[in-house]
Amino acid sequence: MVTTLSKVDVVVVGLGWTGGIIAAECAKAGLKVVGLERGEERGTEDYLKIHDEYRYAVRYELMQNLSKETITIRNNRKMSALPMRQLGSFLLGEGLGGSGTHWNGHTWRFYPYDFQIKTMTDKKYGPNKLSKDYQLQDWGITYEELEPYFYTYEQTIGLSGEDKNPFLKRKDPFPTPPMKRTPILKKFEKATQDLGYSPFMLPSANLSESYKNPDGESINACQYCGFCERFGCEYGAKSSAEITVIPTAIKTGNFETRVRANVVEVIKSGNKVTGVRYINTLSGEEFIQPAEVVVLTSYVMNNAKLLMVSNIGEQYNPDTGRGTLGKNYCYQILPGATGFFDDQMNTFMGAGALGMTIDDFNADNFDHSDLDFIHGGSLSITQTGARPIESNPIQRDTPTWGAEFKKASIHNFTRTLSIGAQGASMPHKENYLALDGKYKDAYGIPLLQMTYNFTEQDRALHVYITEKATEIMKEMGAKTVESRTPITDYDIVNYQTTHNTGGTIMGASPENSVVNSYLQHWDAENLFVVGAGNFAHNGGYNPTGTVGALAYRSAEGIINYSKTGGSLV
């Protein structure tokens, strides 16, 4: 039996950053919004006893319960796709706040080059810089168009930073000053300056000082507690949806959160959608929530999956190149180097987004004429707070257990630093998302299937940027430096990043994209799909700054659509 509820203006599926932004903006504009979230309600009071590495960082307390739903994975089409049975490579969010509850808070603006990557690469390096298998395309929007929305997101979160990146001119000041320049960061600063690069403080959503955002929400000053990445903040000092946009939405009186509501279908009729069907995860009861506008904000994976199971749009086919849904799935390439030092350092102190960066090897900030790859990555040192279960640094020739291991891993715990890049990831025709034919979730719906492997472009980028990281680490005075080994096949076991992108990409034409630049679906004008799934490739940064900007612009589109209807482009 399905219960049909009364219609609302907007239903939002998933309550992380994207769902929270859409809900807040629409509710502020007077629209009646319901937010459906499969996970639990949660907030700062739930984080008071959270300095527990085992429960939160190792056993993934705040993240997706895979016994209910996961994805399947294979490296190429010849392999059979098998379920990701445990979390590893990326940590999917679940519960109010989504992944934004336990993110680090590195918050970036993608470069102008990113949004017009095809045009600008072709113009500078000719049309054959990468082979045709790399499905590069422009995003259907420019940096200039997106710039005001970047700033809106930065103001909402109170971003702490300094305007010293020589490669990106900002019109607007950072809402709060940068975080503390610790001795560890200063080592990096000096070394990179001596090498002729331009270091600057990493823009951080762990705030340097307390701040009130334009919606009136207060965010406190970061206490550098060292339990940040994978944890919620007990101080309310890490900007996240549950302390900013969600309370903003609630205050309007126009927003209702409905947790333990797992959406299983978007209902389509003709060239519009009419609402969503969801299951109460406790009672098993089914409901239909009709709405004038449906917004998918359930992250890369489920945004794609919900479109696929609801038969909205054409599935991408790697044989023919036809179809757009599932296309251009990308990830993040992680070059880097580790340095082993003589002196002990306070490596266990830190904050999720405490770091310093150079962008000399990001985007097209350096010449690629003689290189066999495009783009690059931001190179950073971060001091996020080393913790003892996950951090047992040893050199490659040290045994991984026994007396020598114990001695070395203890010795190195406070004597090891790493420099890492968020390397860009270019789309390839063989990397895509689809529905799995075999495995199902707890609601009997097929799992999403990921076909993904690293490419030649990725490997070349990795080697090149790793050399730069190694050079810097040597300059920082490490006694021994180990470069990250060249990448081979993608594996889902070890944590890399939760920077999955693509699958529901944006663009200027329905021929090559799923949504337009307002993230409005080309095939259903009252359906919006919001998240890093919209990225046509992944840039050399963490994604959420750009996701936030796109979400604010989409919210504006939704509000306009509610008045006028029709296509927004």
Binding site: S67, R74, L82, C225, G226, F348, K406, K440, D491
Partner: protein, 248 residues
């Protein structure tokens, strides 16, 4: 017999274990320990592996293990992975076997937050865990196989062989030279190694990291409210660790 076993505190037990380890590199340590007659005048080497005397004073009870044979095998194996040394206690002294015991009895052991539906296929290493077995089942089988392998190679159970012999067997597991059902021995070894480190370094409320000695050795202060006042200091800060249970 019971009267021989004096009451000892947890700290004493640890100290005692230190004596024992120093003296018995490789002998079935926990077998020795739990059967160790606490009378300080006794030479620890008198009572090593193989005894079925067990001091209930130091026992915390088991949620998962069924007998001393299982418990001792895990204790000895984890101690080889993370041995006591001049820096401080090893896995046994840190309570790692009890940590593993309670973890195997709970959500970790039953993989209850993981996707455990079939069909099960072997899969490529890049596809991660594909076993039909839960961690509890893998551990139970792994323990049996450790013992069987010791018996095969050395004619004695795992807890009764020398340390170097234990290492040889653990290495064979690590290198996937032992055939296990439904899982590779490499996978079991990795699980065991990881669980050992988890037990050594998690908050003491999980029964490992006894007295926060794992943290102390590593220079990790555990749960601190804030480092805002120390983080700019050039000097390394030695901070007395604090556990969540010790929170005010």
């Amino acid at each position: 017999m019971e009267e021989n076993k004096k009451n000892i505190s947890r700290r004493d037990f640890l100290k005692t274990s230190g004596v024992a380890t120093g003296a018995l590199i490789g002998g079935g340590l926990i077998g020795g320990l739990v059967g160790y007659n606490i009378n300080k005048n006794d030479s620890p080497t008198n009572k090593i592996a193989g005894t079925d005397e067990h001091s209930t004073q130091t026992d915390q009870g088991w949620q998962f293990f069924r007998n001393y044979r299982e418990f001792d095998i895990i204790a000895n194996a984890t101690e080889r992975i993370y041995p006591e040394d001049d820096q401080g206690p090893g896995a046994i002294g840190l309570g790692v076997p009890y940590f593993i015991d309670s973890q195997l009895a709970g959500q970790y052991g039953s993989n209850s937050k993981e996707y455990m539906h079939g069909p099960f296929e072997v899969g490529a290493p890049t596809q991660g865990y594909q076993s039909r077995l839960t961690r509890a089942e893998i551990f139970r089988q792994g323990i049996e196989m450790l013992d069987a392998e010791a018996t095969k190679r050395f004619d004695k159970g795992f807890s009764k062989i020398e340390g170097a012999q234990m290492d040889e067997i653990l290495t064979a597991f690590q290198k996937d030279e032992i055939k296990m059902a439904g899982v590779t021995s490499t996978f079991f070894f990795r699980l065991l190694r990881t669980a050992t480190l988890e037990g050594a370094y998690s908050d003491p409320m999980y029964k490992g990291n006894v007295n926060m000695d794992g943290w102390r050795m590593k220079g990790f202060p555990g749960h601190q409210m804030a480092y805002i006042n120390e983080i700019e200091n050039e000097k390394f800060q030695k901070i007395e660790p604090q556990s969540l249970g010790g929170m005010h």
